[in-house]
Assembly symmetry: C2
Amino acid sequence: MNTSLPAPNGSPTVEAATAAIRHLAEHGYEKTTAGELADAMGMSRSTFFRRFGSKEDVVFADHDLALAHLEQLLAEADDPAGEAVARGTVAVMHRLIRDADAARQRSELLKRTPSLRERELVITHRYERVFAGYLVRVASPGTPDWAPVALAAGLVAVHNAALRRWLRHDDARAISALERDLAALIARFAPWFGDEDRPSRVVVAAFDAEASSEEVLRALREQLG
Amino acid sequence: MNTSLPAPNGSPTVEAATAAIRHLAEHGYEKTTAGELADAMGMSRSTFFRRFGSKEDVVFADHDLALAHLEQLLAEADDPAGEAVARGTVAVMHRLIRDADAARQRSELLKRTPSLRERELVITHRYERVFAGYLVRVASPGTPDWAPVALAAGLVAVHNAALRRWLRHDDARAISALERDLAALIARFAPWFGDEDRPSRVVVAAFDAEASSEEVLRALREQLG
DNA sequence: AGTATGCCTGAGACTCAGTCCCGTTTCAAG
DNA sequence: CTTGAAACGGGACTGAGTCTCAGGCATACT
């Protein structure tokens, strides 16, 4: 496991990791032994394991940076919670597609390597934990237990879907689509993570003619928290 | 990887797996070699790997059964989608706590073994995929892409939280609390996964007082579309 | 009865990821 | 120039997972 401190972006660690991804993408993950990979990265096998912990973790090394960035962003945020997590999600997206070539190469590598896709799930879950922790911290009183973790899971899911869309067709609109989807998702959880400083709202309710009074009241109560 | 067909519940495979969990919980996961584990399960090392694929997978062997059960349940469901996924989630919960001793022993084992907790994330994700696939299939037309996957993630998150609560204090009310939380979660996504046979809806939209007319109209159009 | 066929098993050799230890290099502080 | 810490390379070692081969055991066929 890589327990090293987060390294700056132009760091030799990051460069070595992208070199590793390139080599693995070109030569195949299973076919490449740790020794060969270390050679291609210009270091000994010992140093490789010391720096990156494992053959799997080297593929996701930059996620450590993105994750640290996200944590800092959320810690400093003074927005309403909904906007802060939306900004954070978009920031992670930006960071992951900053180097488009590297992003595509990793995607290719993942597509052809089931074990790495499984590892990706573990990495991804760290973001979920960070989001959920932040949301628990800032949730309005009375928020149910499941809301932060459900929203956090949704954020990551929406982000991943947007990333996949971006990878399929290099659409510059992927980011704005992501922002739109995030807003819609967060709106589902609005009563708990909205802006408590500006609580005035206008409620517009549309009811089916056959809706019973109970249904109307229940829905209103949920919206109004 | 275990690619064997789903085995019946009293099967020697299942019994061997629970024996394995017991042994690992008592002797420690890392300290137990595959050979020792196979001995404790009454089979050779070769047979162990043939039957269970890996040392990690043997701990989650029964999830294959629960997952198959869930898939069948969803395939046969003719409820509204929201109720079907709620029933499915509760069914999985029931299955996992049916043998309370085994559930607790696995929980203890996971608590002390980080690598198994990471593996658990991968296993858990399979449920997410099953839910999301079903929800995509039955979603009303016009449902945004992110909704099924976000709801699926939320279902799993709520389930896991309920399971953890049940493990902490053996509360019989854990199940009813789970049902309540699921209903509240699903209500957040109601317009897309409600009952299309009874299309009456209750749409409640809350806007900031400063929202422009365009924003209000756009949001309403999305809801009513 | 004898035999052929297919399946599951156990045994052992083999590859390779990851750990550990030890001696060497590097480099900055004194 | 000396010293001490930190990174490095080399190489031995453990253990997971794969693979091959040979034997046991049942059912089916003649």
